[in-house]
Assembly symmetry: D2
Homo-oligomer: 400 residues x 4
């Protein structure tokens, strides 16, 4: 590894990255530029983050607003593939990583840095996601992953490390859960969740009401969808990010979007996570409802193939690859007809599409019901069945 | 078509098949044997069915109990593949068709019949399912599908037809919904459901409470799973069919298992259906929870491929085909480790797995958390990432 | 079926369609417009075809040159997916059907016809391909398939039919093989080929030398490929159709491109066909060689999925469907890097890519060989292997 | 890493592993047990191998005959899936690795070793394959990969290393190609092959005649296949390994089985390899011919999915995984009908199935040809086409 002069660190203002700033300076003798991605994690997390970075020893701090771009260019493309990782996980953390990595590289180019750094641990997926994106976008830049190098393995040792250097830090010595938030979701790991036999306690969840605490009356929300993207909520035209924020508000009240799973990490072991994706869960239900109307049988089956493959691609951080371009192009093609209107019911943790229509609907009351029509002659069914089952018939006859 | 002497009719006791009995006799001059499959549709539907059949003119009526076999040999194999049709439909009607067709063929062989008949309409999936199974199991037997031949296209004309022949029938002239039930589910079509913009009314649902009417307190149920099959409910060892019945009781109280979708029929058009699968929904959630613990990443991804393919196979009635044998063999192999215990919470229409464990779990608290262990050295991650992303790196370098 | 006034017939000038012209007039009382698609089947087949059509009773005859469009808009898109039906068949007949159907519909619109007709038999794939395209492009037009209606089931009866009407026809009463040709290939069915235990006789093959008769010296040909399309042969820039013609000439001399298979027809039974695709086989080998250089492992695996699905789509005549758009968009995305140069050896029935290079090659001698380099540190392999196999390790430890 | 007492080395008698014996003893202070797998690499390579091992310093040498087991338990299962890696590579090296690893672990258990070692380089696939198998079979044993540790990176330095220790070695200082052989194939890498623009010279190929040197007369060979396995060659019943040996002899004369490709290694870079698989290529052609007769359309398409997935699994060394069990179970199910007889023509580098038959054939001359039959009524085709294309028709109508 060549000597490093200037490193751009993905900085959050939390304990870990606060310690990484001085650690990088001491261990690599380099200048540290803090980069903060605003992906909708909330004002609280961003408040004073520049001051904190400078106080930790960063020579500069860039806060970049990625909220709109994340929703439009990373989340919606993924939604158009129908990706759900391992049947349940809506990929909230995964989808944010490539845009953060891309913006981080852009800052590195701007400031003339020769290295990139992040605060991901050595057992998680995020290190792979970040560094795979770096490899695709900036193969010439070195990567420093302090958690794989240092021996500061506890919160106490990190706090001591900062205290020794007189770096102020408001973090507490104990933190039960590890959380990650962006506009799409918040994730929770650690604490009692490490035992899958242990039900999550109330303290785990931070965004949503519990179904029990949710209102006793259902709420109905109307979404308008154009080519696979939500463009209006309850009749109000909004850009994608603002739709998501509004739906987060509506759905979290009703306890919608909680998930509690054991998943396969890319690095070979399993982990248990709880996720809250209130608005996203509503959006998924709406898009599924539109698909029911507009996709024919073969297209819908194919979309499951696209989504199955893409869910792993996103989870694994393989965003900046030719495979991503290929699957997305296929999904975009299917989404050209995915327009319409859906009314969804929010109630006690559940979202249900109760009304749906589309100008591109292939459903027709005339064709589906049992009366005669011009399109479908019931006598055709015999011929269809005979040829559809012909190989079974031939096979059965051959066995005789 | 050769002249037919004796036909075995899949008889339900309802209006349609009551009329088919005399219609077959008059139009084909043949003897009619009624065959009634008991697949758990309920005592009410079966009560007096033999008398009715004879009264309609059948020379014999066979009622065959298929309940245990259906759950063990058709439903559980399908569950082991993880099949869900078009993301939502739990295949309740589809899974029952092959076993009914198979038993019907067995009766035909027993009585020396030369034809088979059913009361499926000419626009639906069931005609294809039945006749595809017949083609595979009895290619020598002729098939009569009255709905594709006759001109008795309304309930009134069917009632008139029976009245003219003095055949008693308790059916009413108006029936809003078309329903089909077995131990796994009940389906509802017709009426206001023909407009997807129309929310289902309360009369649609017959098995489950609405979430609003469900108890305000959650209920917890414990399932024990052995190799992909539920063997005990709340600690009580039960055979598969009895587990299902018990879970239907528990889950329907809490409004669990309602689905309202527009789906692609095999015959090329879309239809809208509402389904209630209370116990099945609980079982699916339990099996998914076990899979989370025991399947590695590649196996789980593969299982999605198996389930995607198999869901169409079951929906399409292609049960008695080599493809079924192949996919099932693959699913059985994955299921050998699918054992464990799951606690599920039933509340206001939702089922959630809140506790899960398995003797074959690949989850390990030691490996997942951030402390050191013998299996995973965090320094390995760097090498992994470098090679995992190597083609991206090479591609990026090649572009320079 | 409504009464028909004007029908456009896909006319070839052969015995079948010559008889269909008067048959349509007599049986439907309609005007018949002959439509001849020039898809490169050869000057011999097209010579005098207009006169023949008029002599048969057609009121007009349109000959439309589709050669360039077929190669550019149907064959190359299919090649970009890597489609090979059932591992062997290069889809020569299948790829021509949609463009013929589309041009036929355009003529129908131009002349104000209310029906379409074709000369496909009732057991083959082509009837499905034509009529599926008609359904997508002109659902309002009626379709007449004489072979499924009439009783003129032998060549003798067809000749008699024409003779009775004094329609001149040079066809002979006996014809062993049924053949279909276009610029891409010629197919052969019938005669001794109907027994798969029977080796094809020399008379089957019409385009290519047998390997035994091919020259004793190999010939080398150089192809230049740009984004998945051959643009030059032996250094000469040519448009796609002309490349194909030139390669047909070169490759047929060397006996390249013969295939003899039993395949699954869409309509449920198997058939045996022999195909000659000389130039196409060379093009496939060149494109495969470029893919070897430019596609990473995941992209190449994905391309197999695209090709597997698309081969059935093309074979089944499902060209004008949303699924086609989706898969093609995915394939086009992968093809953006498929540029380069390939030298191929033609010898005694075989084509072998012996030299290959690409500006987008991911192959690098420096990286592949065992010396040190900047991109790959051999010590990374240990970490890679440890995490790559971690779930196996955990599983093995769990079993203890 | 704990201190190691006894290591079992996969020993070949070549230069690399001859040096590894003393290197292990000196660097780990451990006893070295040589393990030689006889996988059909040939008598020449095995001659005197035990003496060599002892002379190098091994305390014992076990030569284990794995030939029959490799063909029966690793090659044929793989063949039943139809696996071909990236469209061309018949997986010769890949299929041998798991059985060698398994036997090596068995020796380690027998002698009470605490570590395993191999001579694979740090940039290749084999290190991953061996160590992934070790992880699954013996997660408790340590693994030593000298090529990733030492600095003996040239043949000269290895020869010097041995000379310094007075260990006799007949290896020469220069060796152009790196080769690996077993009963199924021989691979060649290195030398001029490192440039894909360079055609392989004659010295590359060691098993087969060039097509040009092959006899001018074709040779015909008859294979009998039972459930996916070749059981007789030219009428002579032979066990699987002996069939393969005999076919290697026959096919290599005719230049059959050469392949020259650039492939994607698992570790992220591409490499160029030449392979000779004479007998295997003949077997593949025979099995493909049988599949043409016995598999219906859906089964054959599914088999492509199985083979696509399994080819990567085998290539990647993921043999001892649940995914292997699942895919193989699916392939075994399809193979139950894969019986029959095939005559193949060997000529100038090509193998062609020219005659094929099967007791389970779904091909029937009666059904395929155009005459009437009992199974297929041509009028059925209309109904089939109408429903098969119904969604296209509805979609087209909906657009109006």
């Amino acid at each position: 590894m060549n000597s490093i002069k200037k490193v751009v660190l993905a900085y959050s203002g939390g304990l870990d990255t606060s310690a990484i700033v001085p650690w990088l300076k001491e261990n690599y003798g380099c200048e540290v530029i803090a980069f903060v991605a605003d992906v909708g994690q909330g004002a609280e997390e961003l408040e004073g983050v520049e001051e904190k970075a400078i106080a930790s020893g960063a020579s500069e701090c860039y806060v970049v607003d990625l909220k709109d771009e994340m929703v439009s260019d990373y989340i919606y493309p993924t939604l158009k593939t129908g990706s759900i990782y391992e049947g349940t996980y809506l990929l909230g953390t995964s989808m944010a990583r490539p845009i953060i990595a891309k913006a981080q590289v852009e800052i590195a180019r701007k400031v003339g840095a020769d290295a990139l750094s992040h605060g991901c641990t050595g057992k998680g997926n995020d290190q792979v996601r970040f560094e795979s994106c770096f490899a695709a976008l900036a193969p010439d830049l070195q990567v420093i992953a302090p958690w794989r190098e240092w021996d500061l393995s506890s919160r106490e040792s990190l706090l001591d490390y900062l205290a020794e250097r007189n770096i102020p830090c408001s973090a507490s010595a104990t933190k039960i859960y590890s959380r990650d938030a962006n506009a799409w979701h918040i994730s929770h790991e650690g604490g009692e969740l490490e035992d899958p036999w242990c039900q999550p306690s109330d303290q785990v969840w931070t965004w949503t009401n519990s179904p029990e605490q949710a209102p006793n009356e259902p709420e109905f929300v109307t979404l308008n969808v154009v080519e696979g993207e939500v463009v209006a909520v309850n009749g109000e035209q909004l850009k994608p990010y603002d739709c998501l924020v509004k739906l987060n508000d509506l759905a979290s009240v009703h306890g919608v979007g909680r998930v509690d799973i054991v998943e396969n990490r890319l690095v070979g072991m399993k982990s248990r996570g709880c996720y809250e994706t209130p608005g996203g869960t509503v959006i998924m239900a709406a898009l599924q409802a539109i698909d029911e109307l507009v996709l024919d049988k073969a297209s819908r089956k194919w979309k499951e193939v696209l989504g199955g493959e893409f869910s792993h691609l996103v989870y694994d951080g393989r965003w900046f690859t030719p495979l991503k371009d290929s699957i997305l192009a296929g999904a975009e093609a299917l989404s050209t007809v995915a327009s319409g209107e859906v009314v969804l019911k929010l109630y006690k943790g559940q979202v249900t599409a109760v009304q749906k229509k589309s100008p591109n609907s292939l459903y027709s009351e005339d064709f589906a019901t049992f009366g005669a029509d011009d399109v479908y002659d019931q006598s055709h069914a015999e011929g269809f069945i005979r040829l559809f089952s012909l190989s079974s018939r031939i096979s059965a006859l051959a066995k005789k």
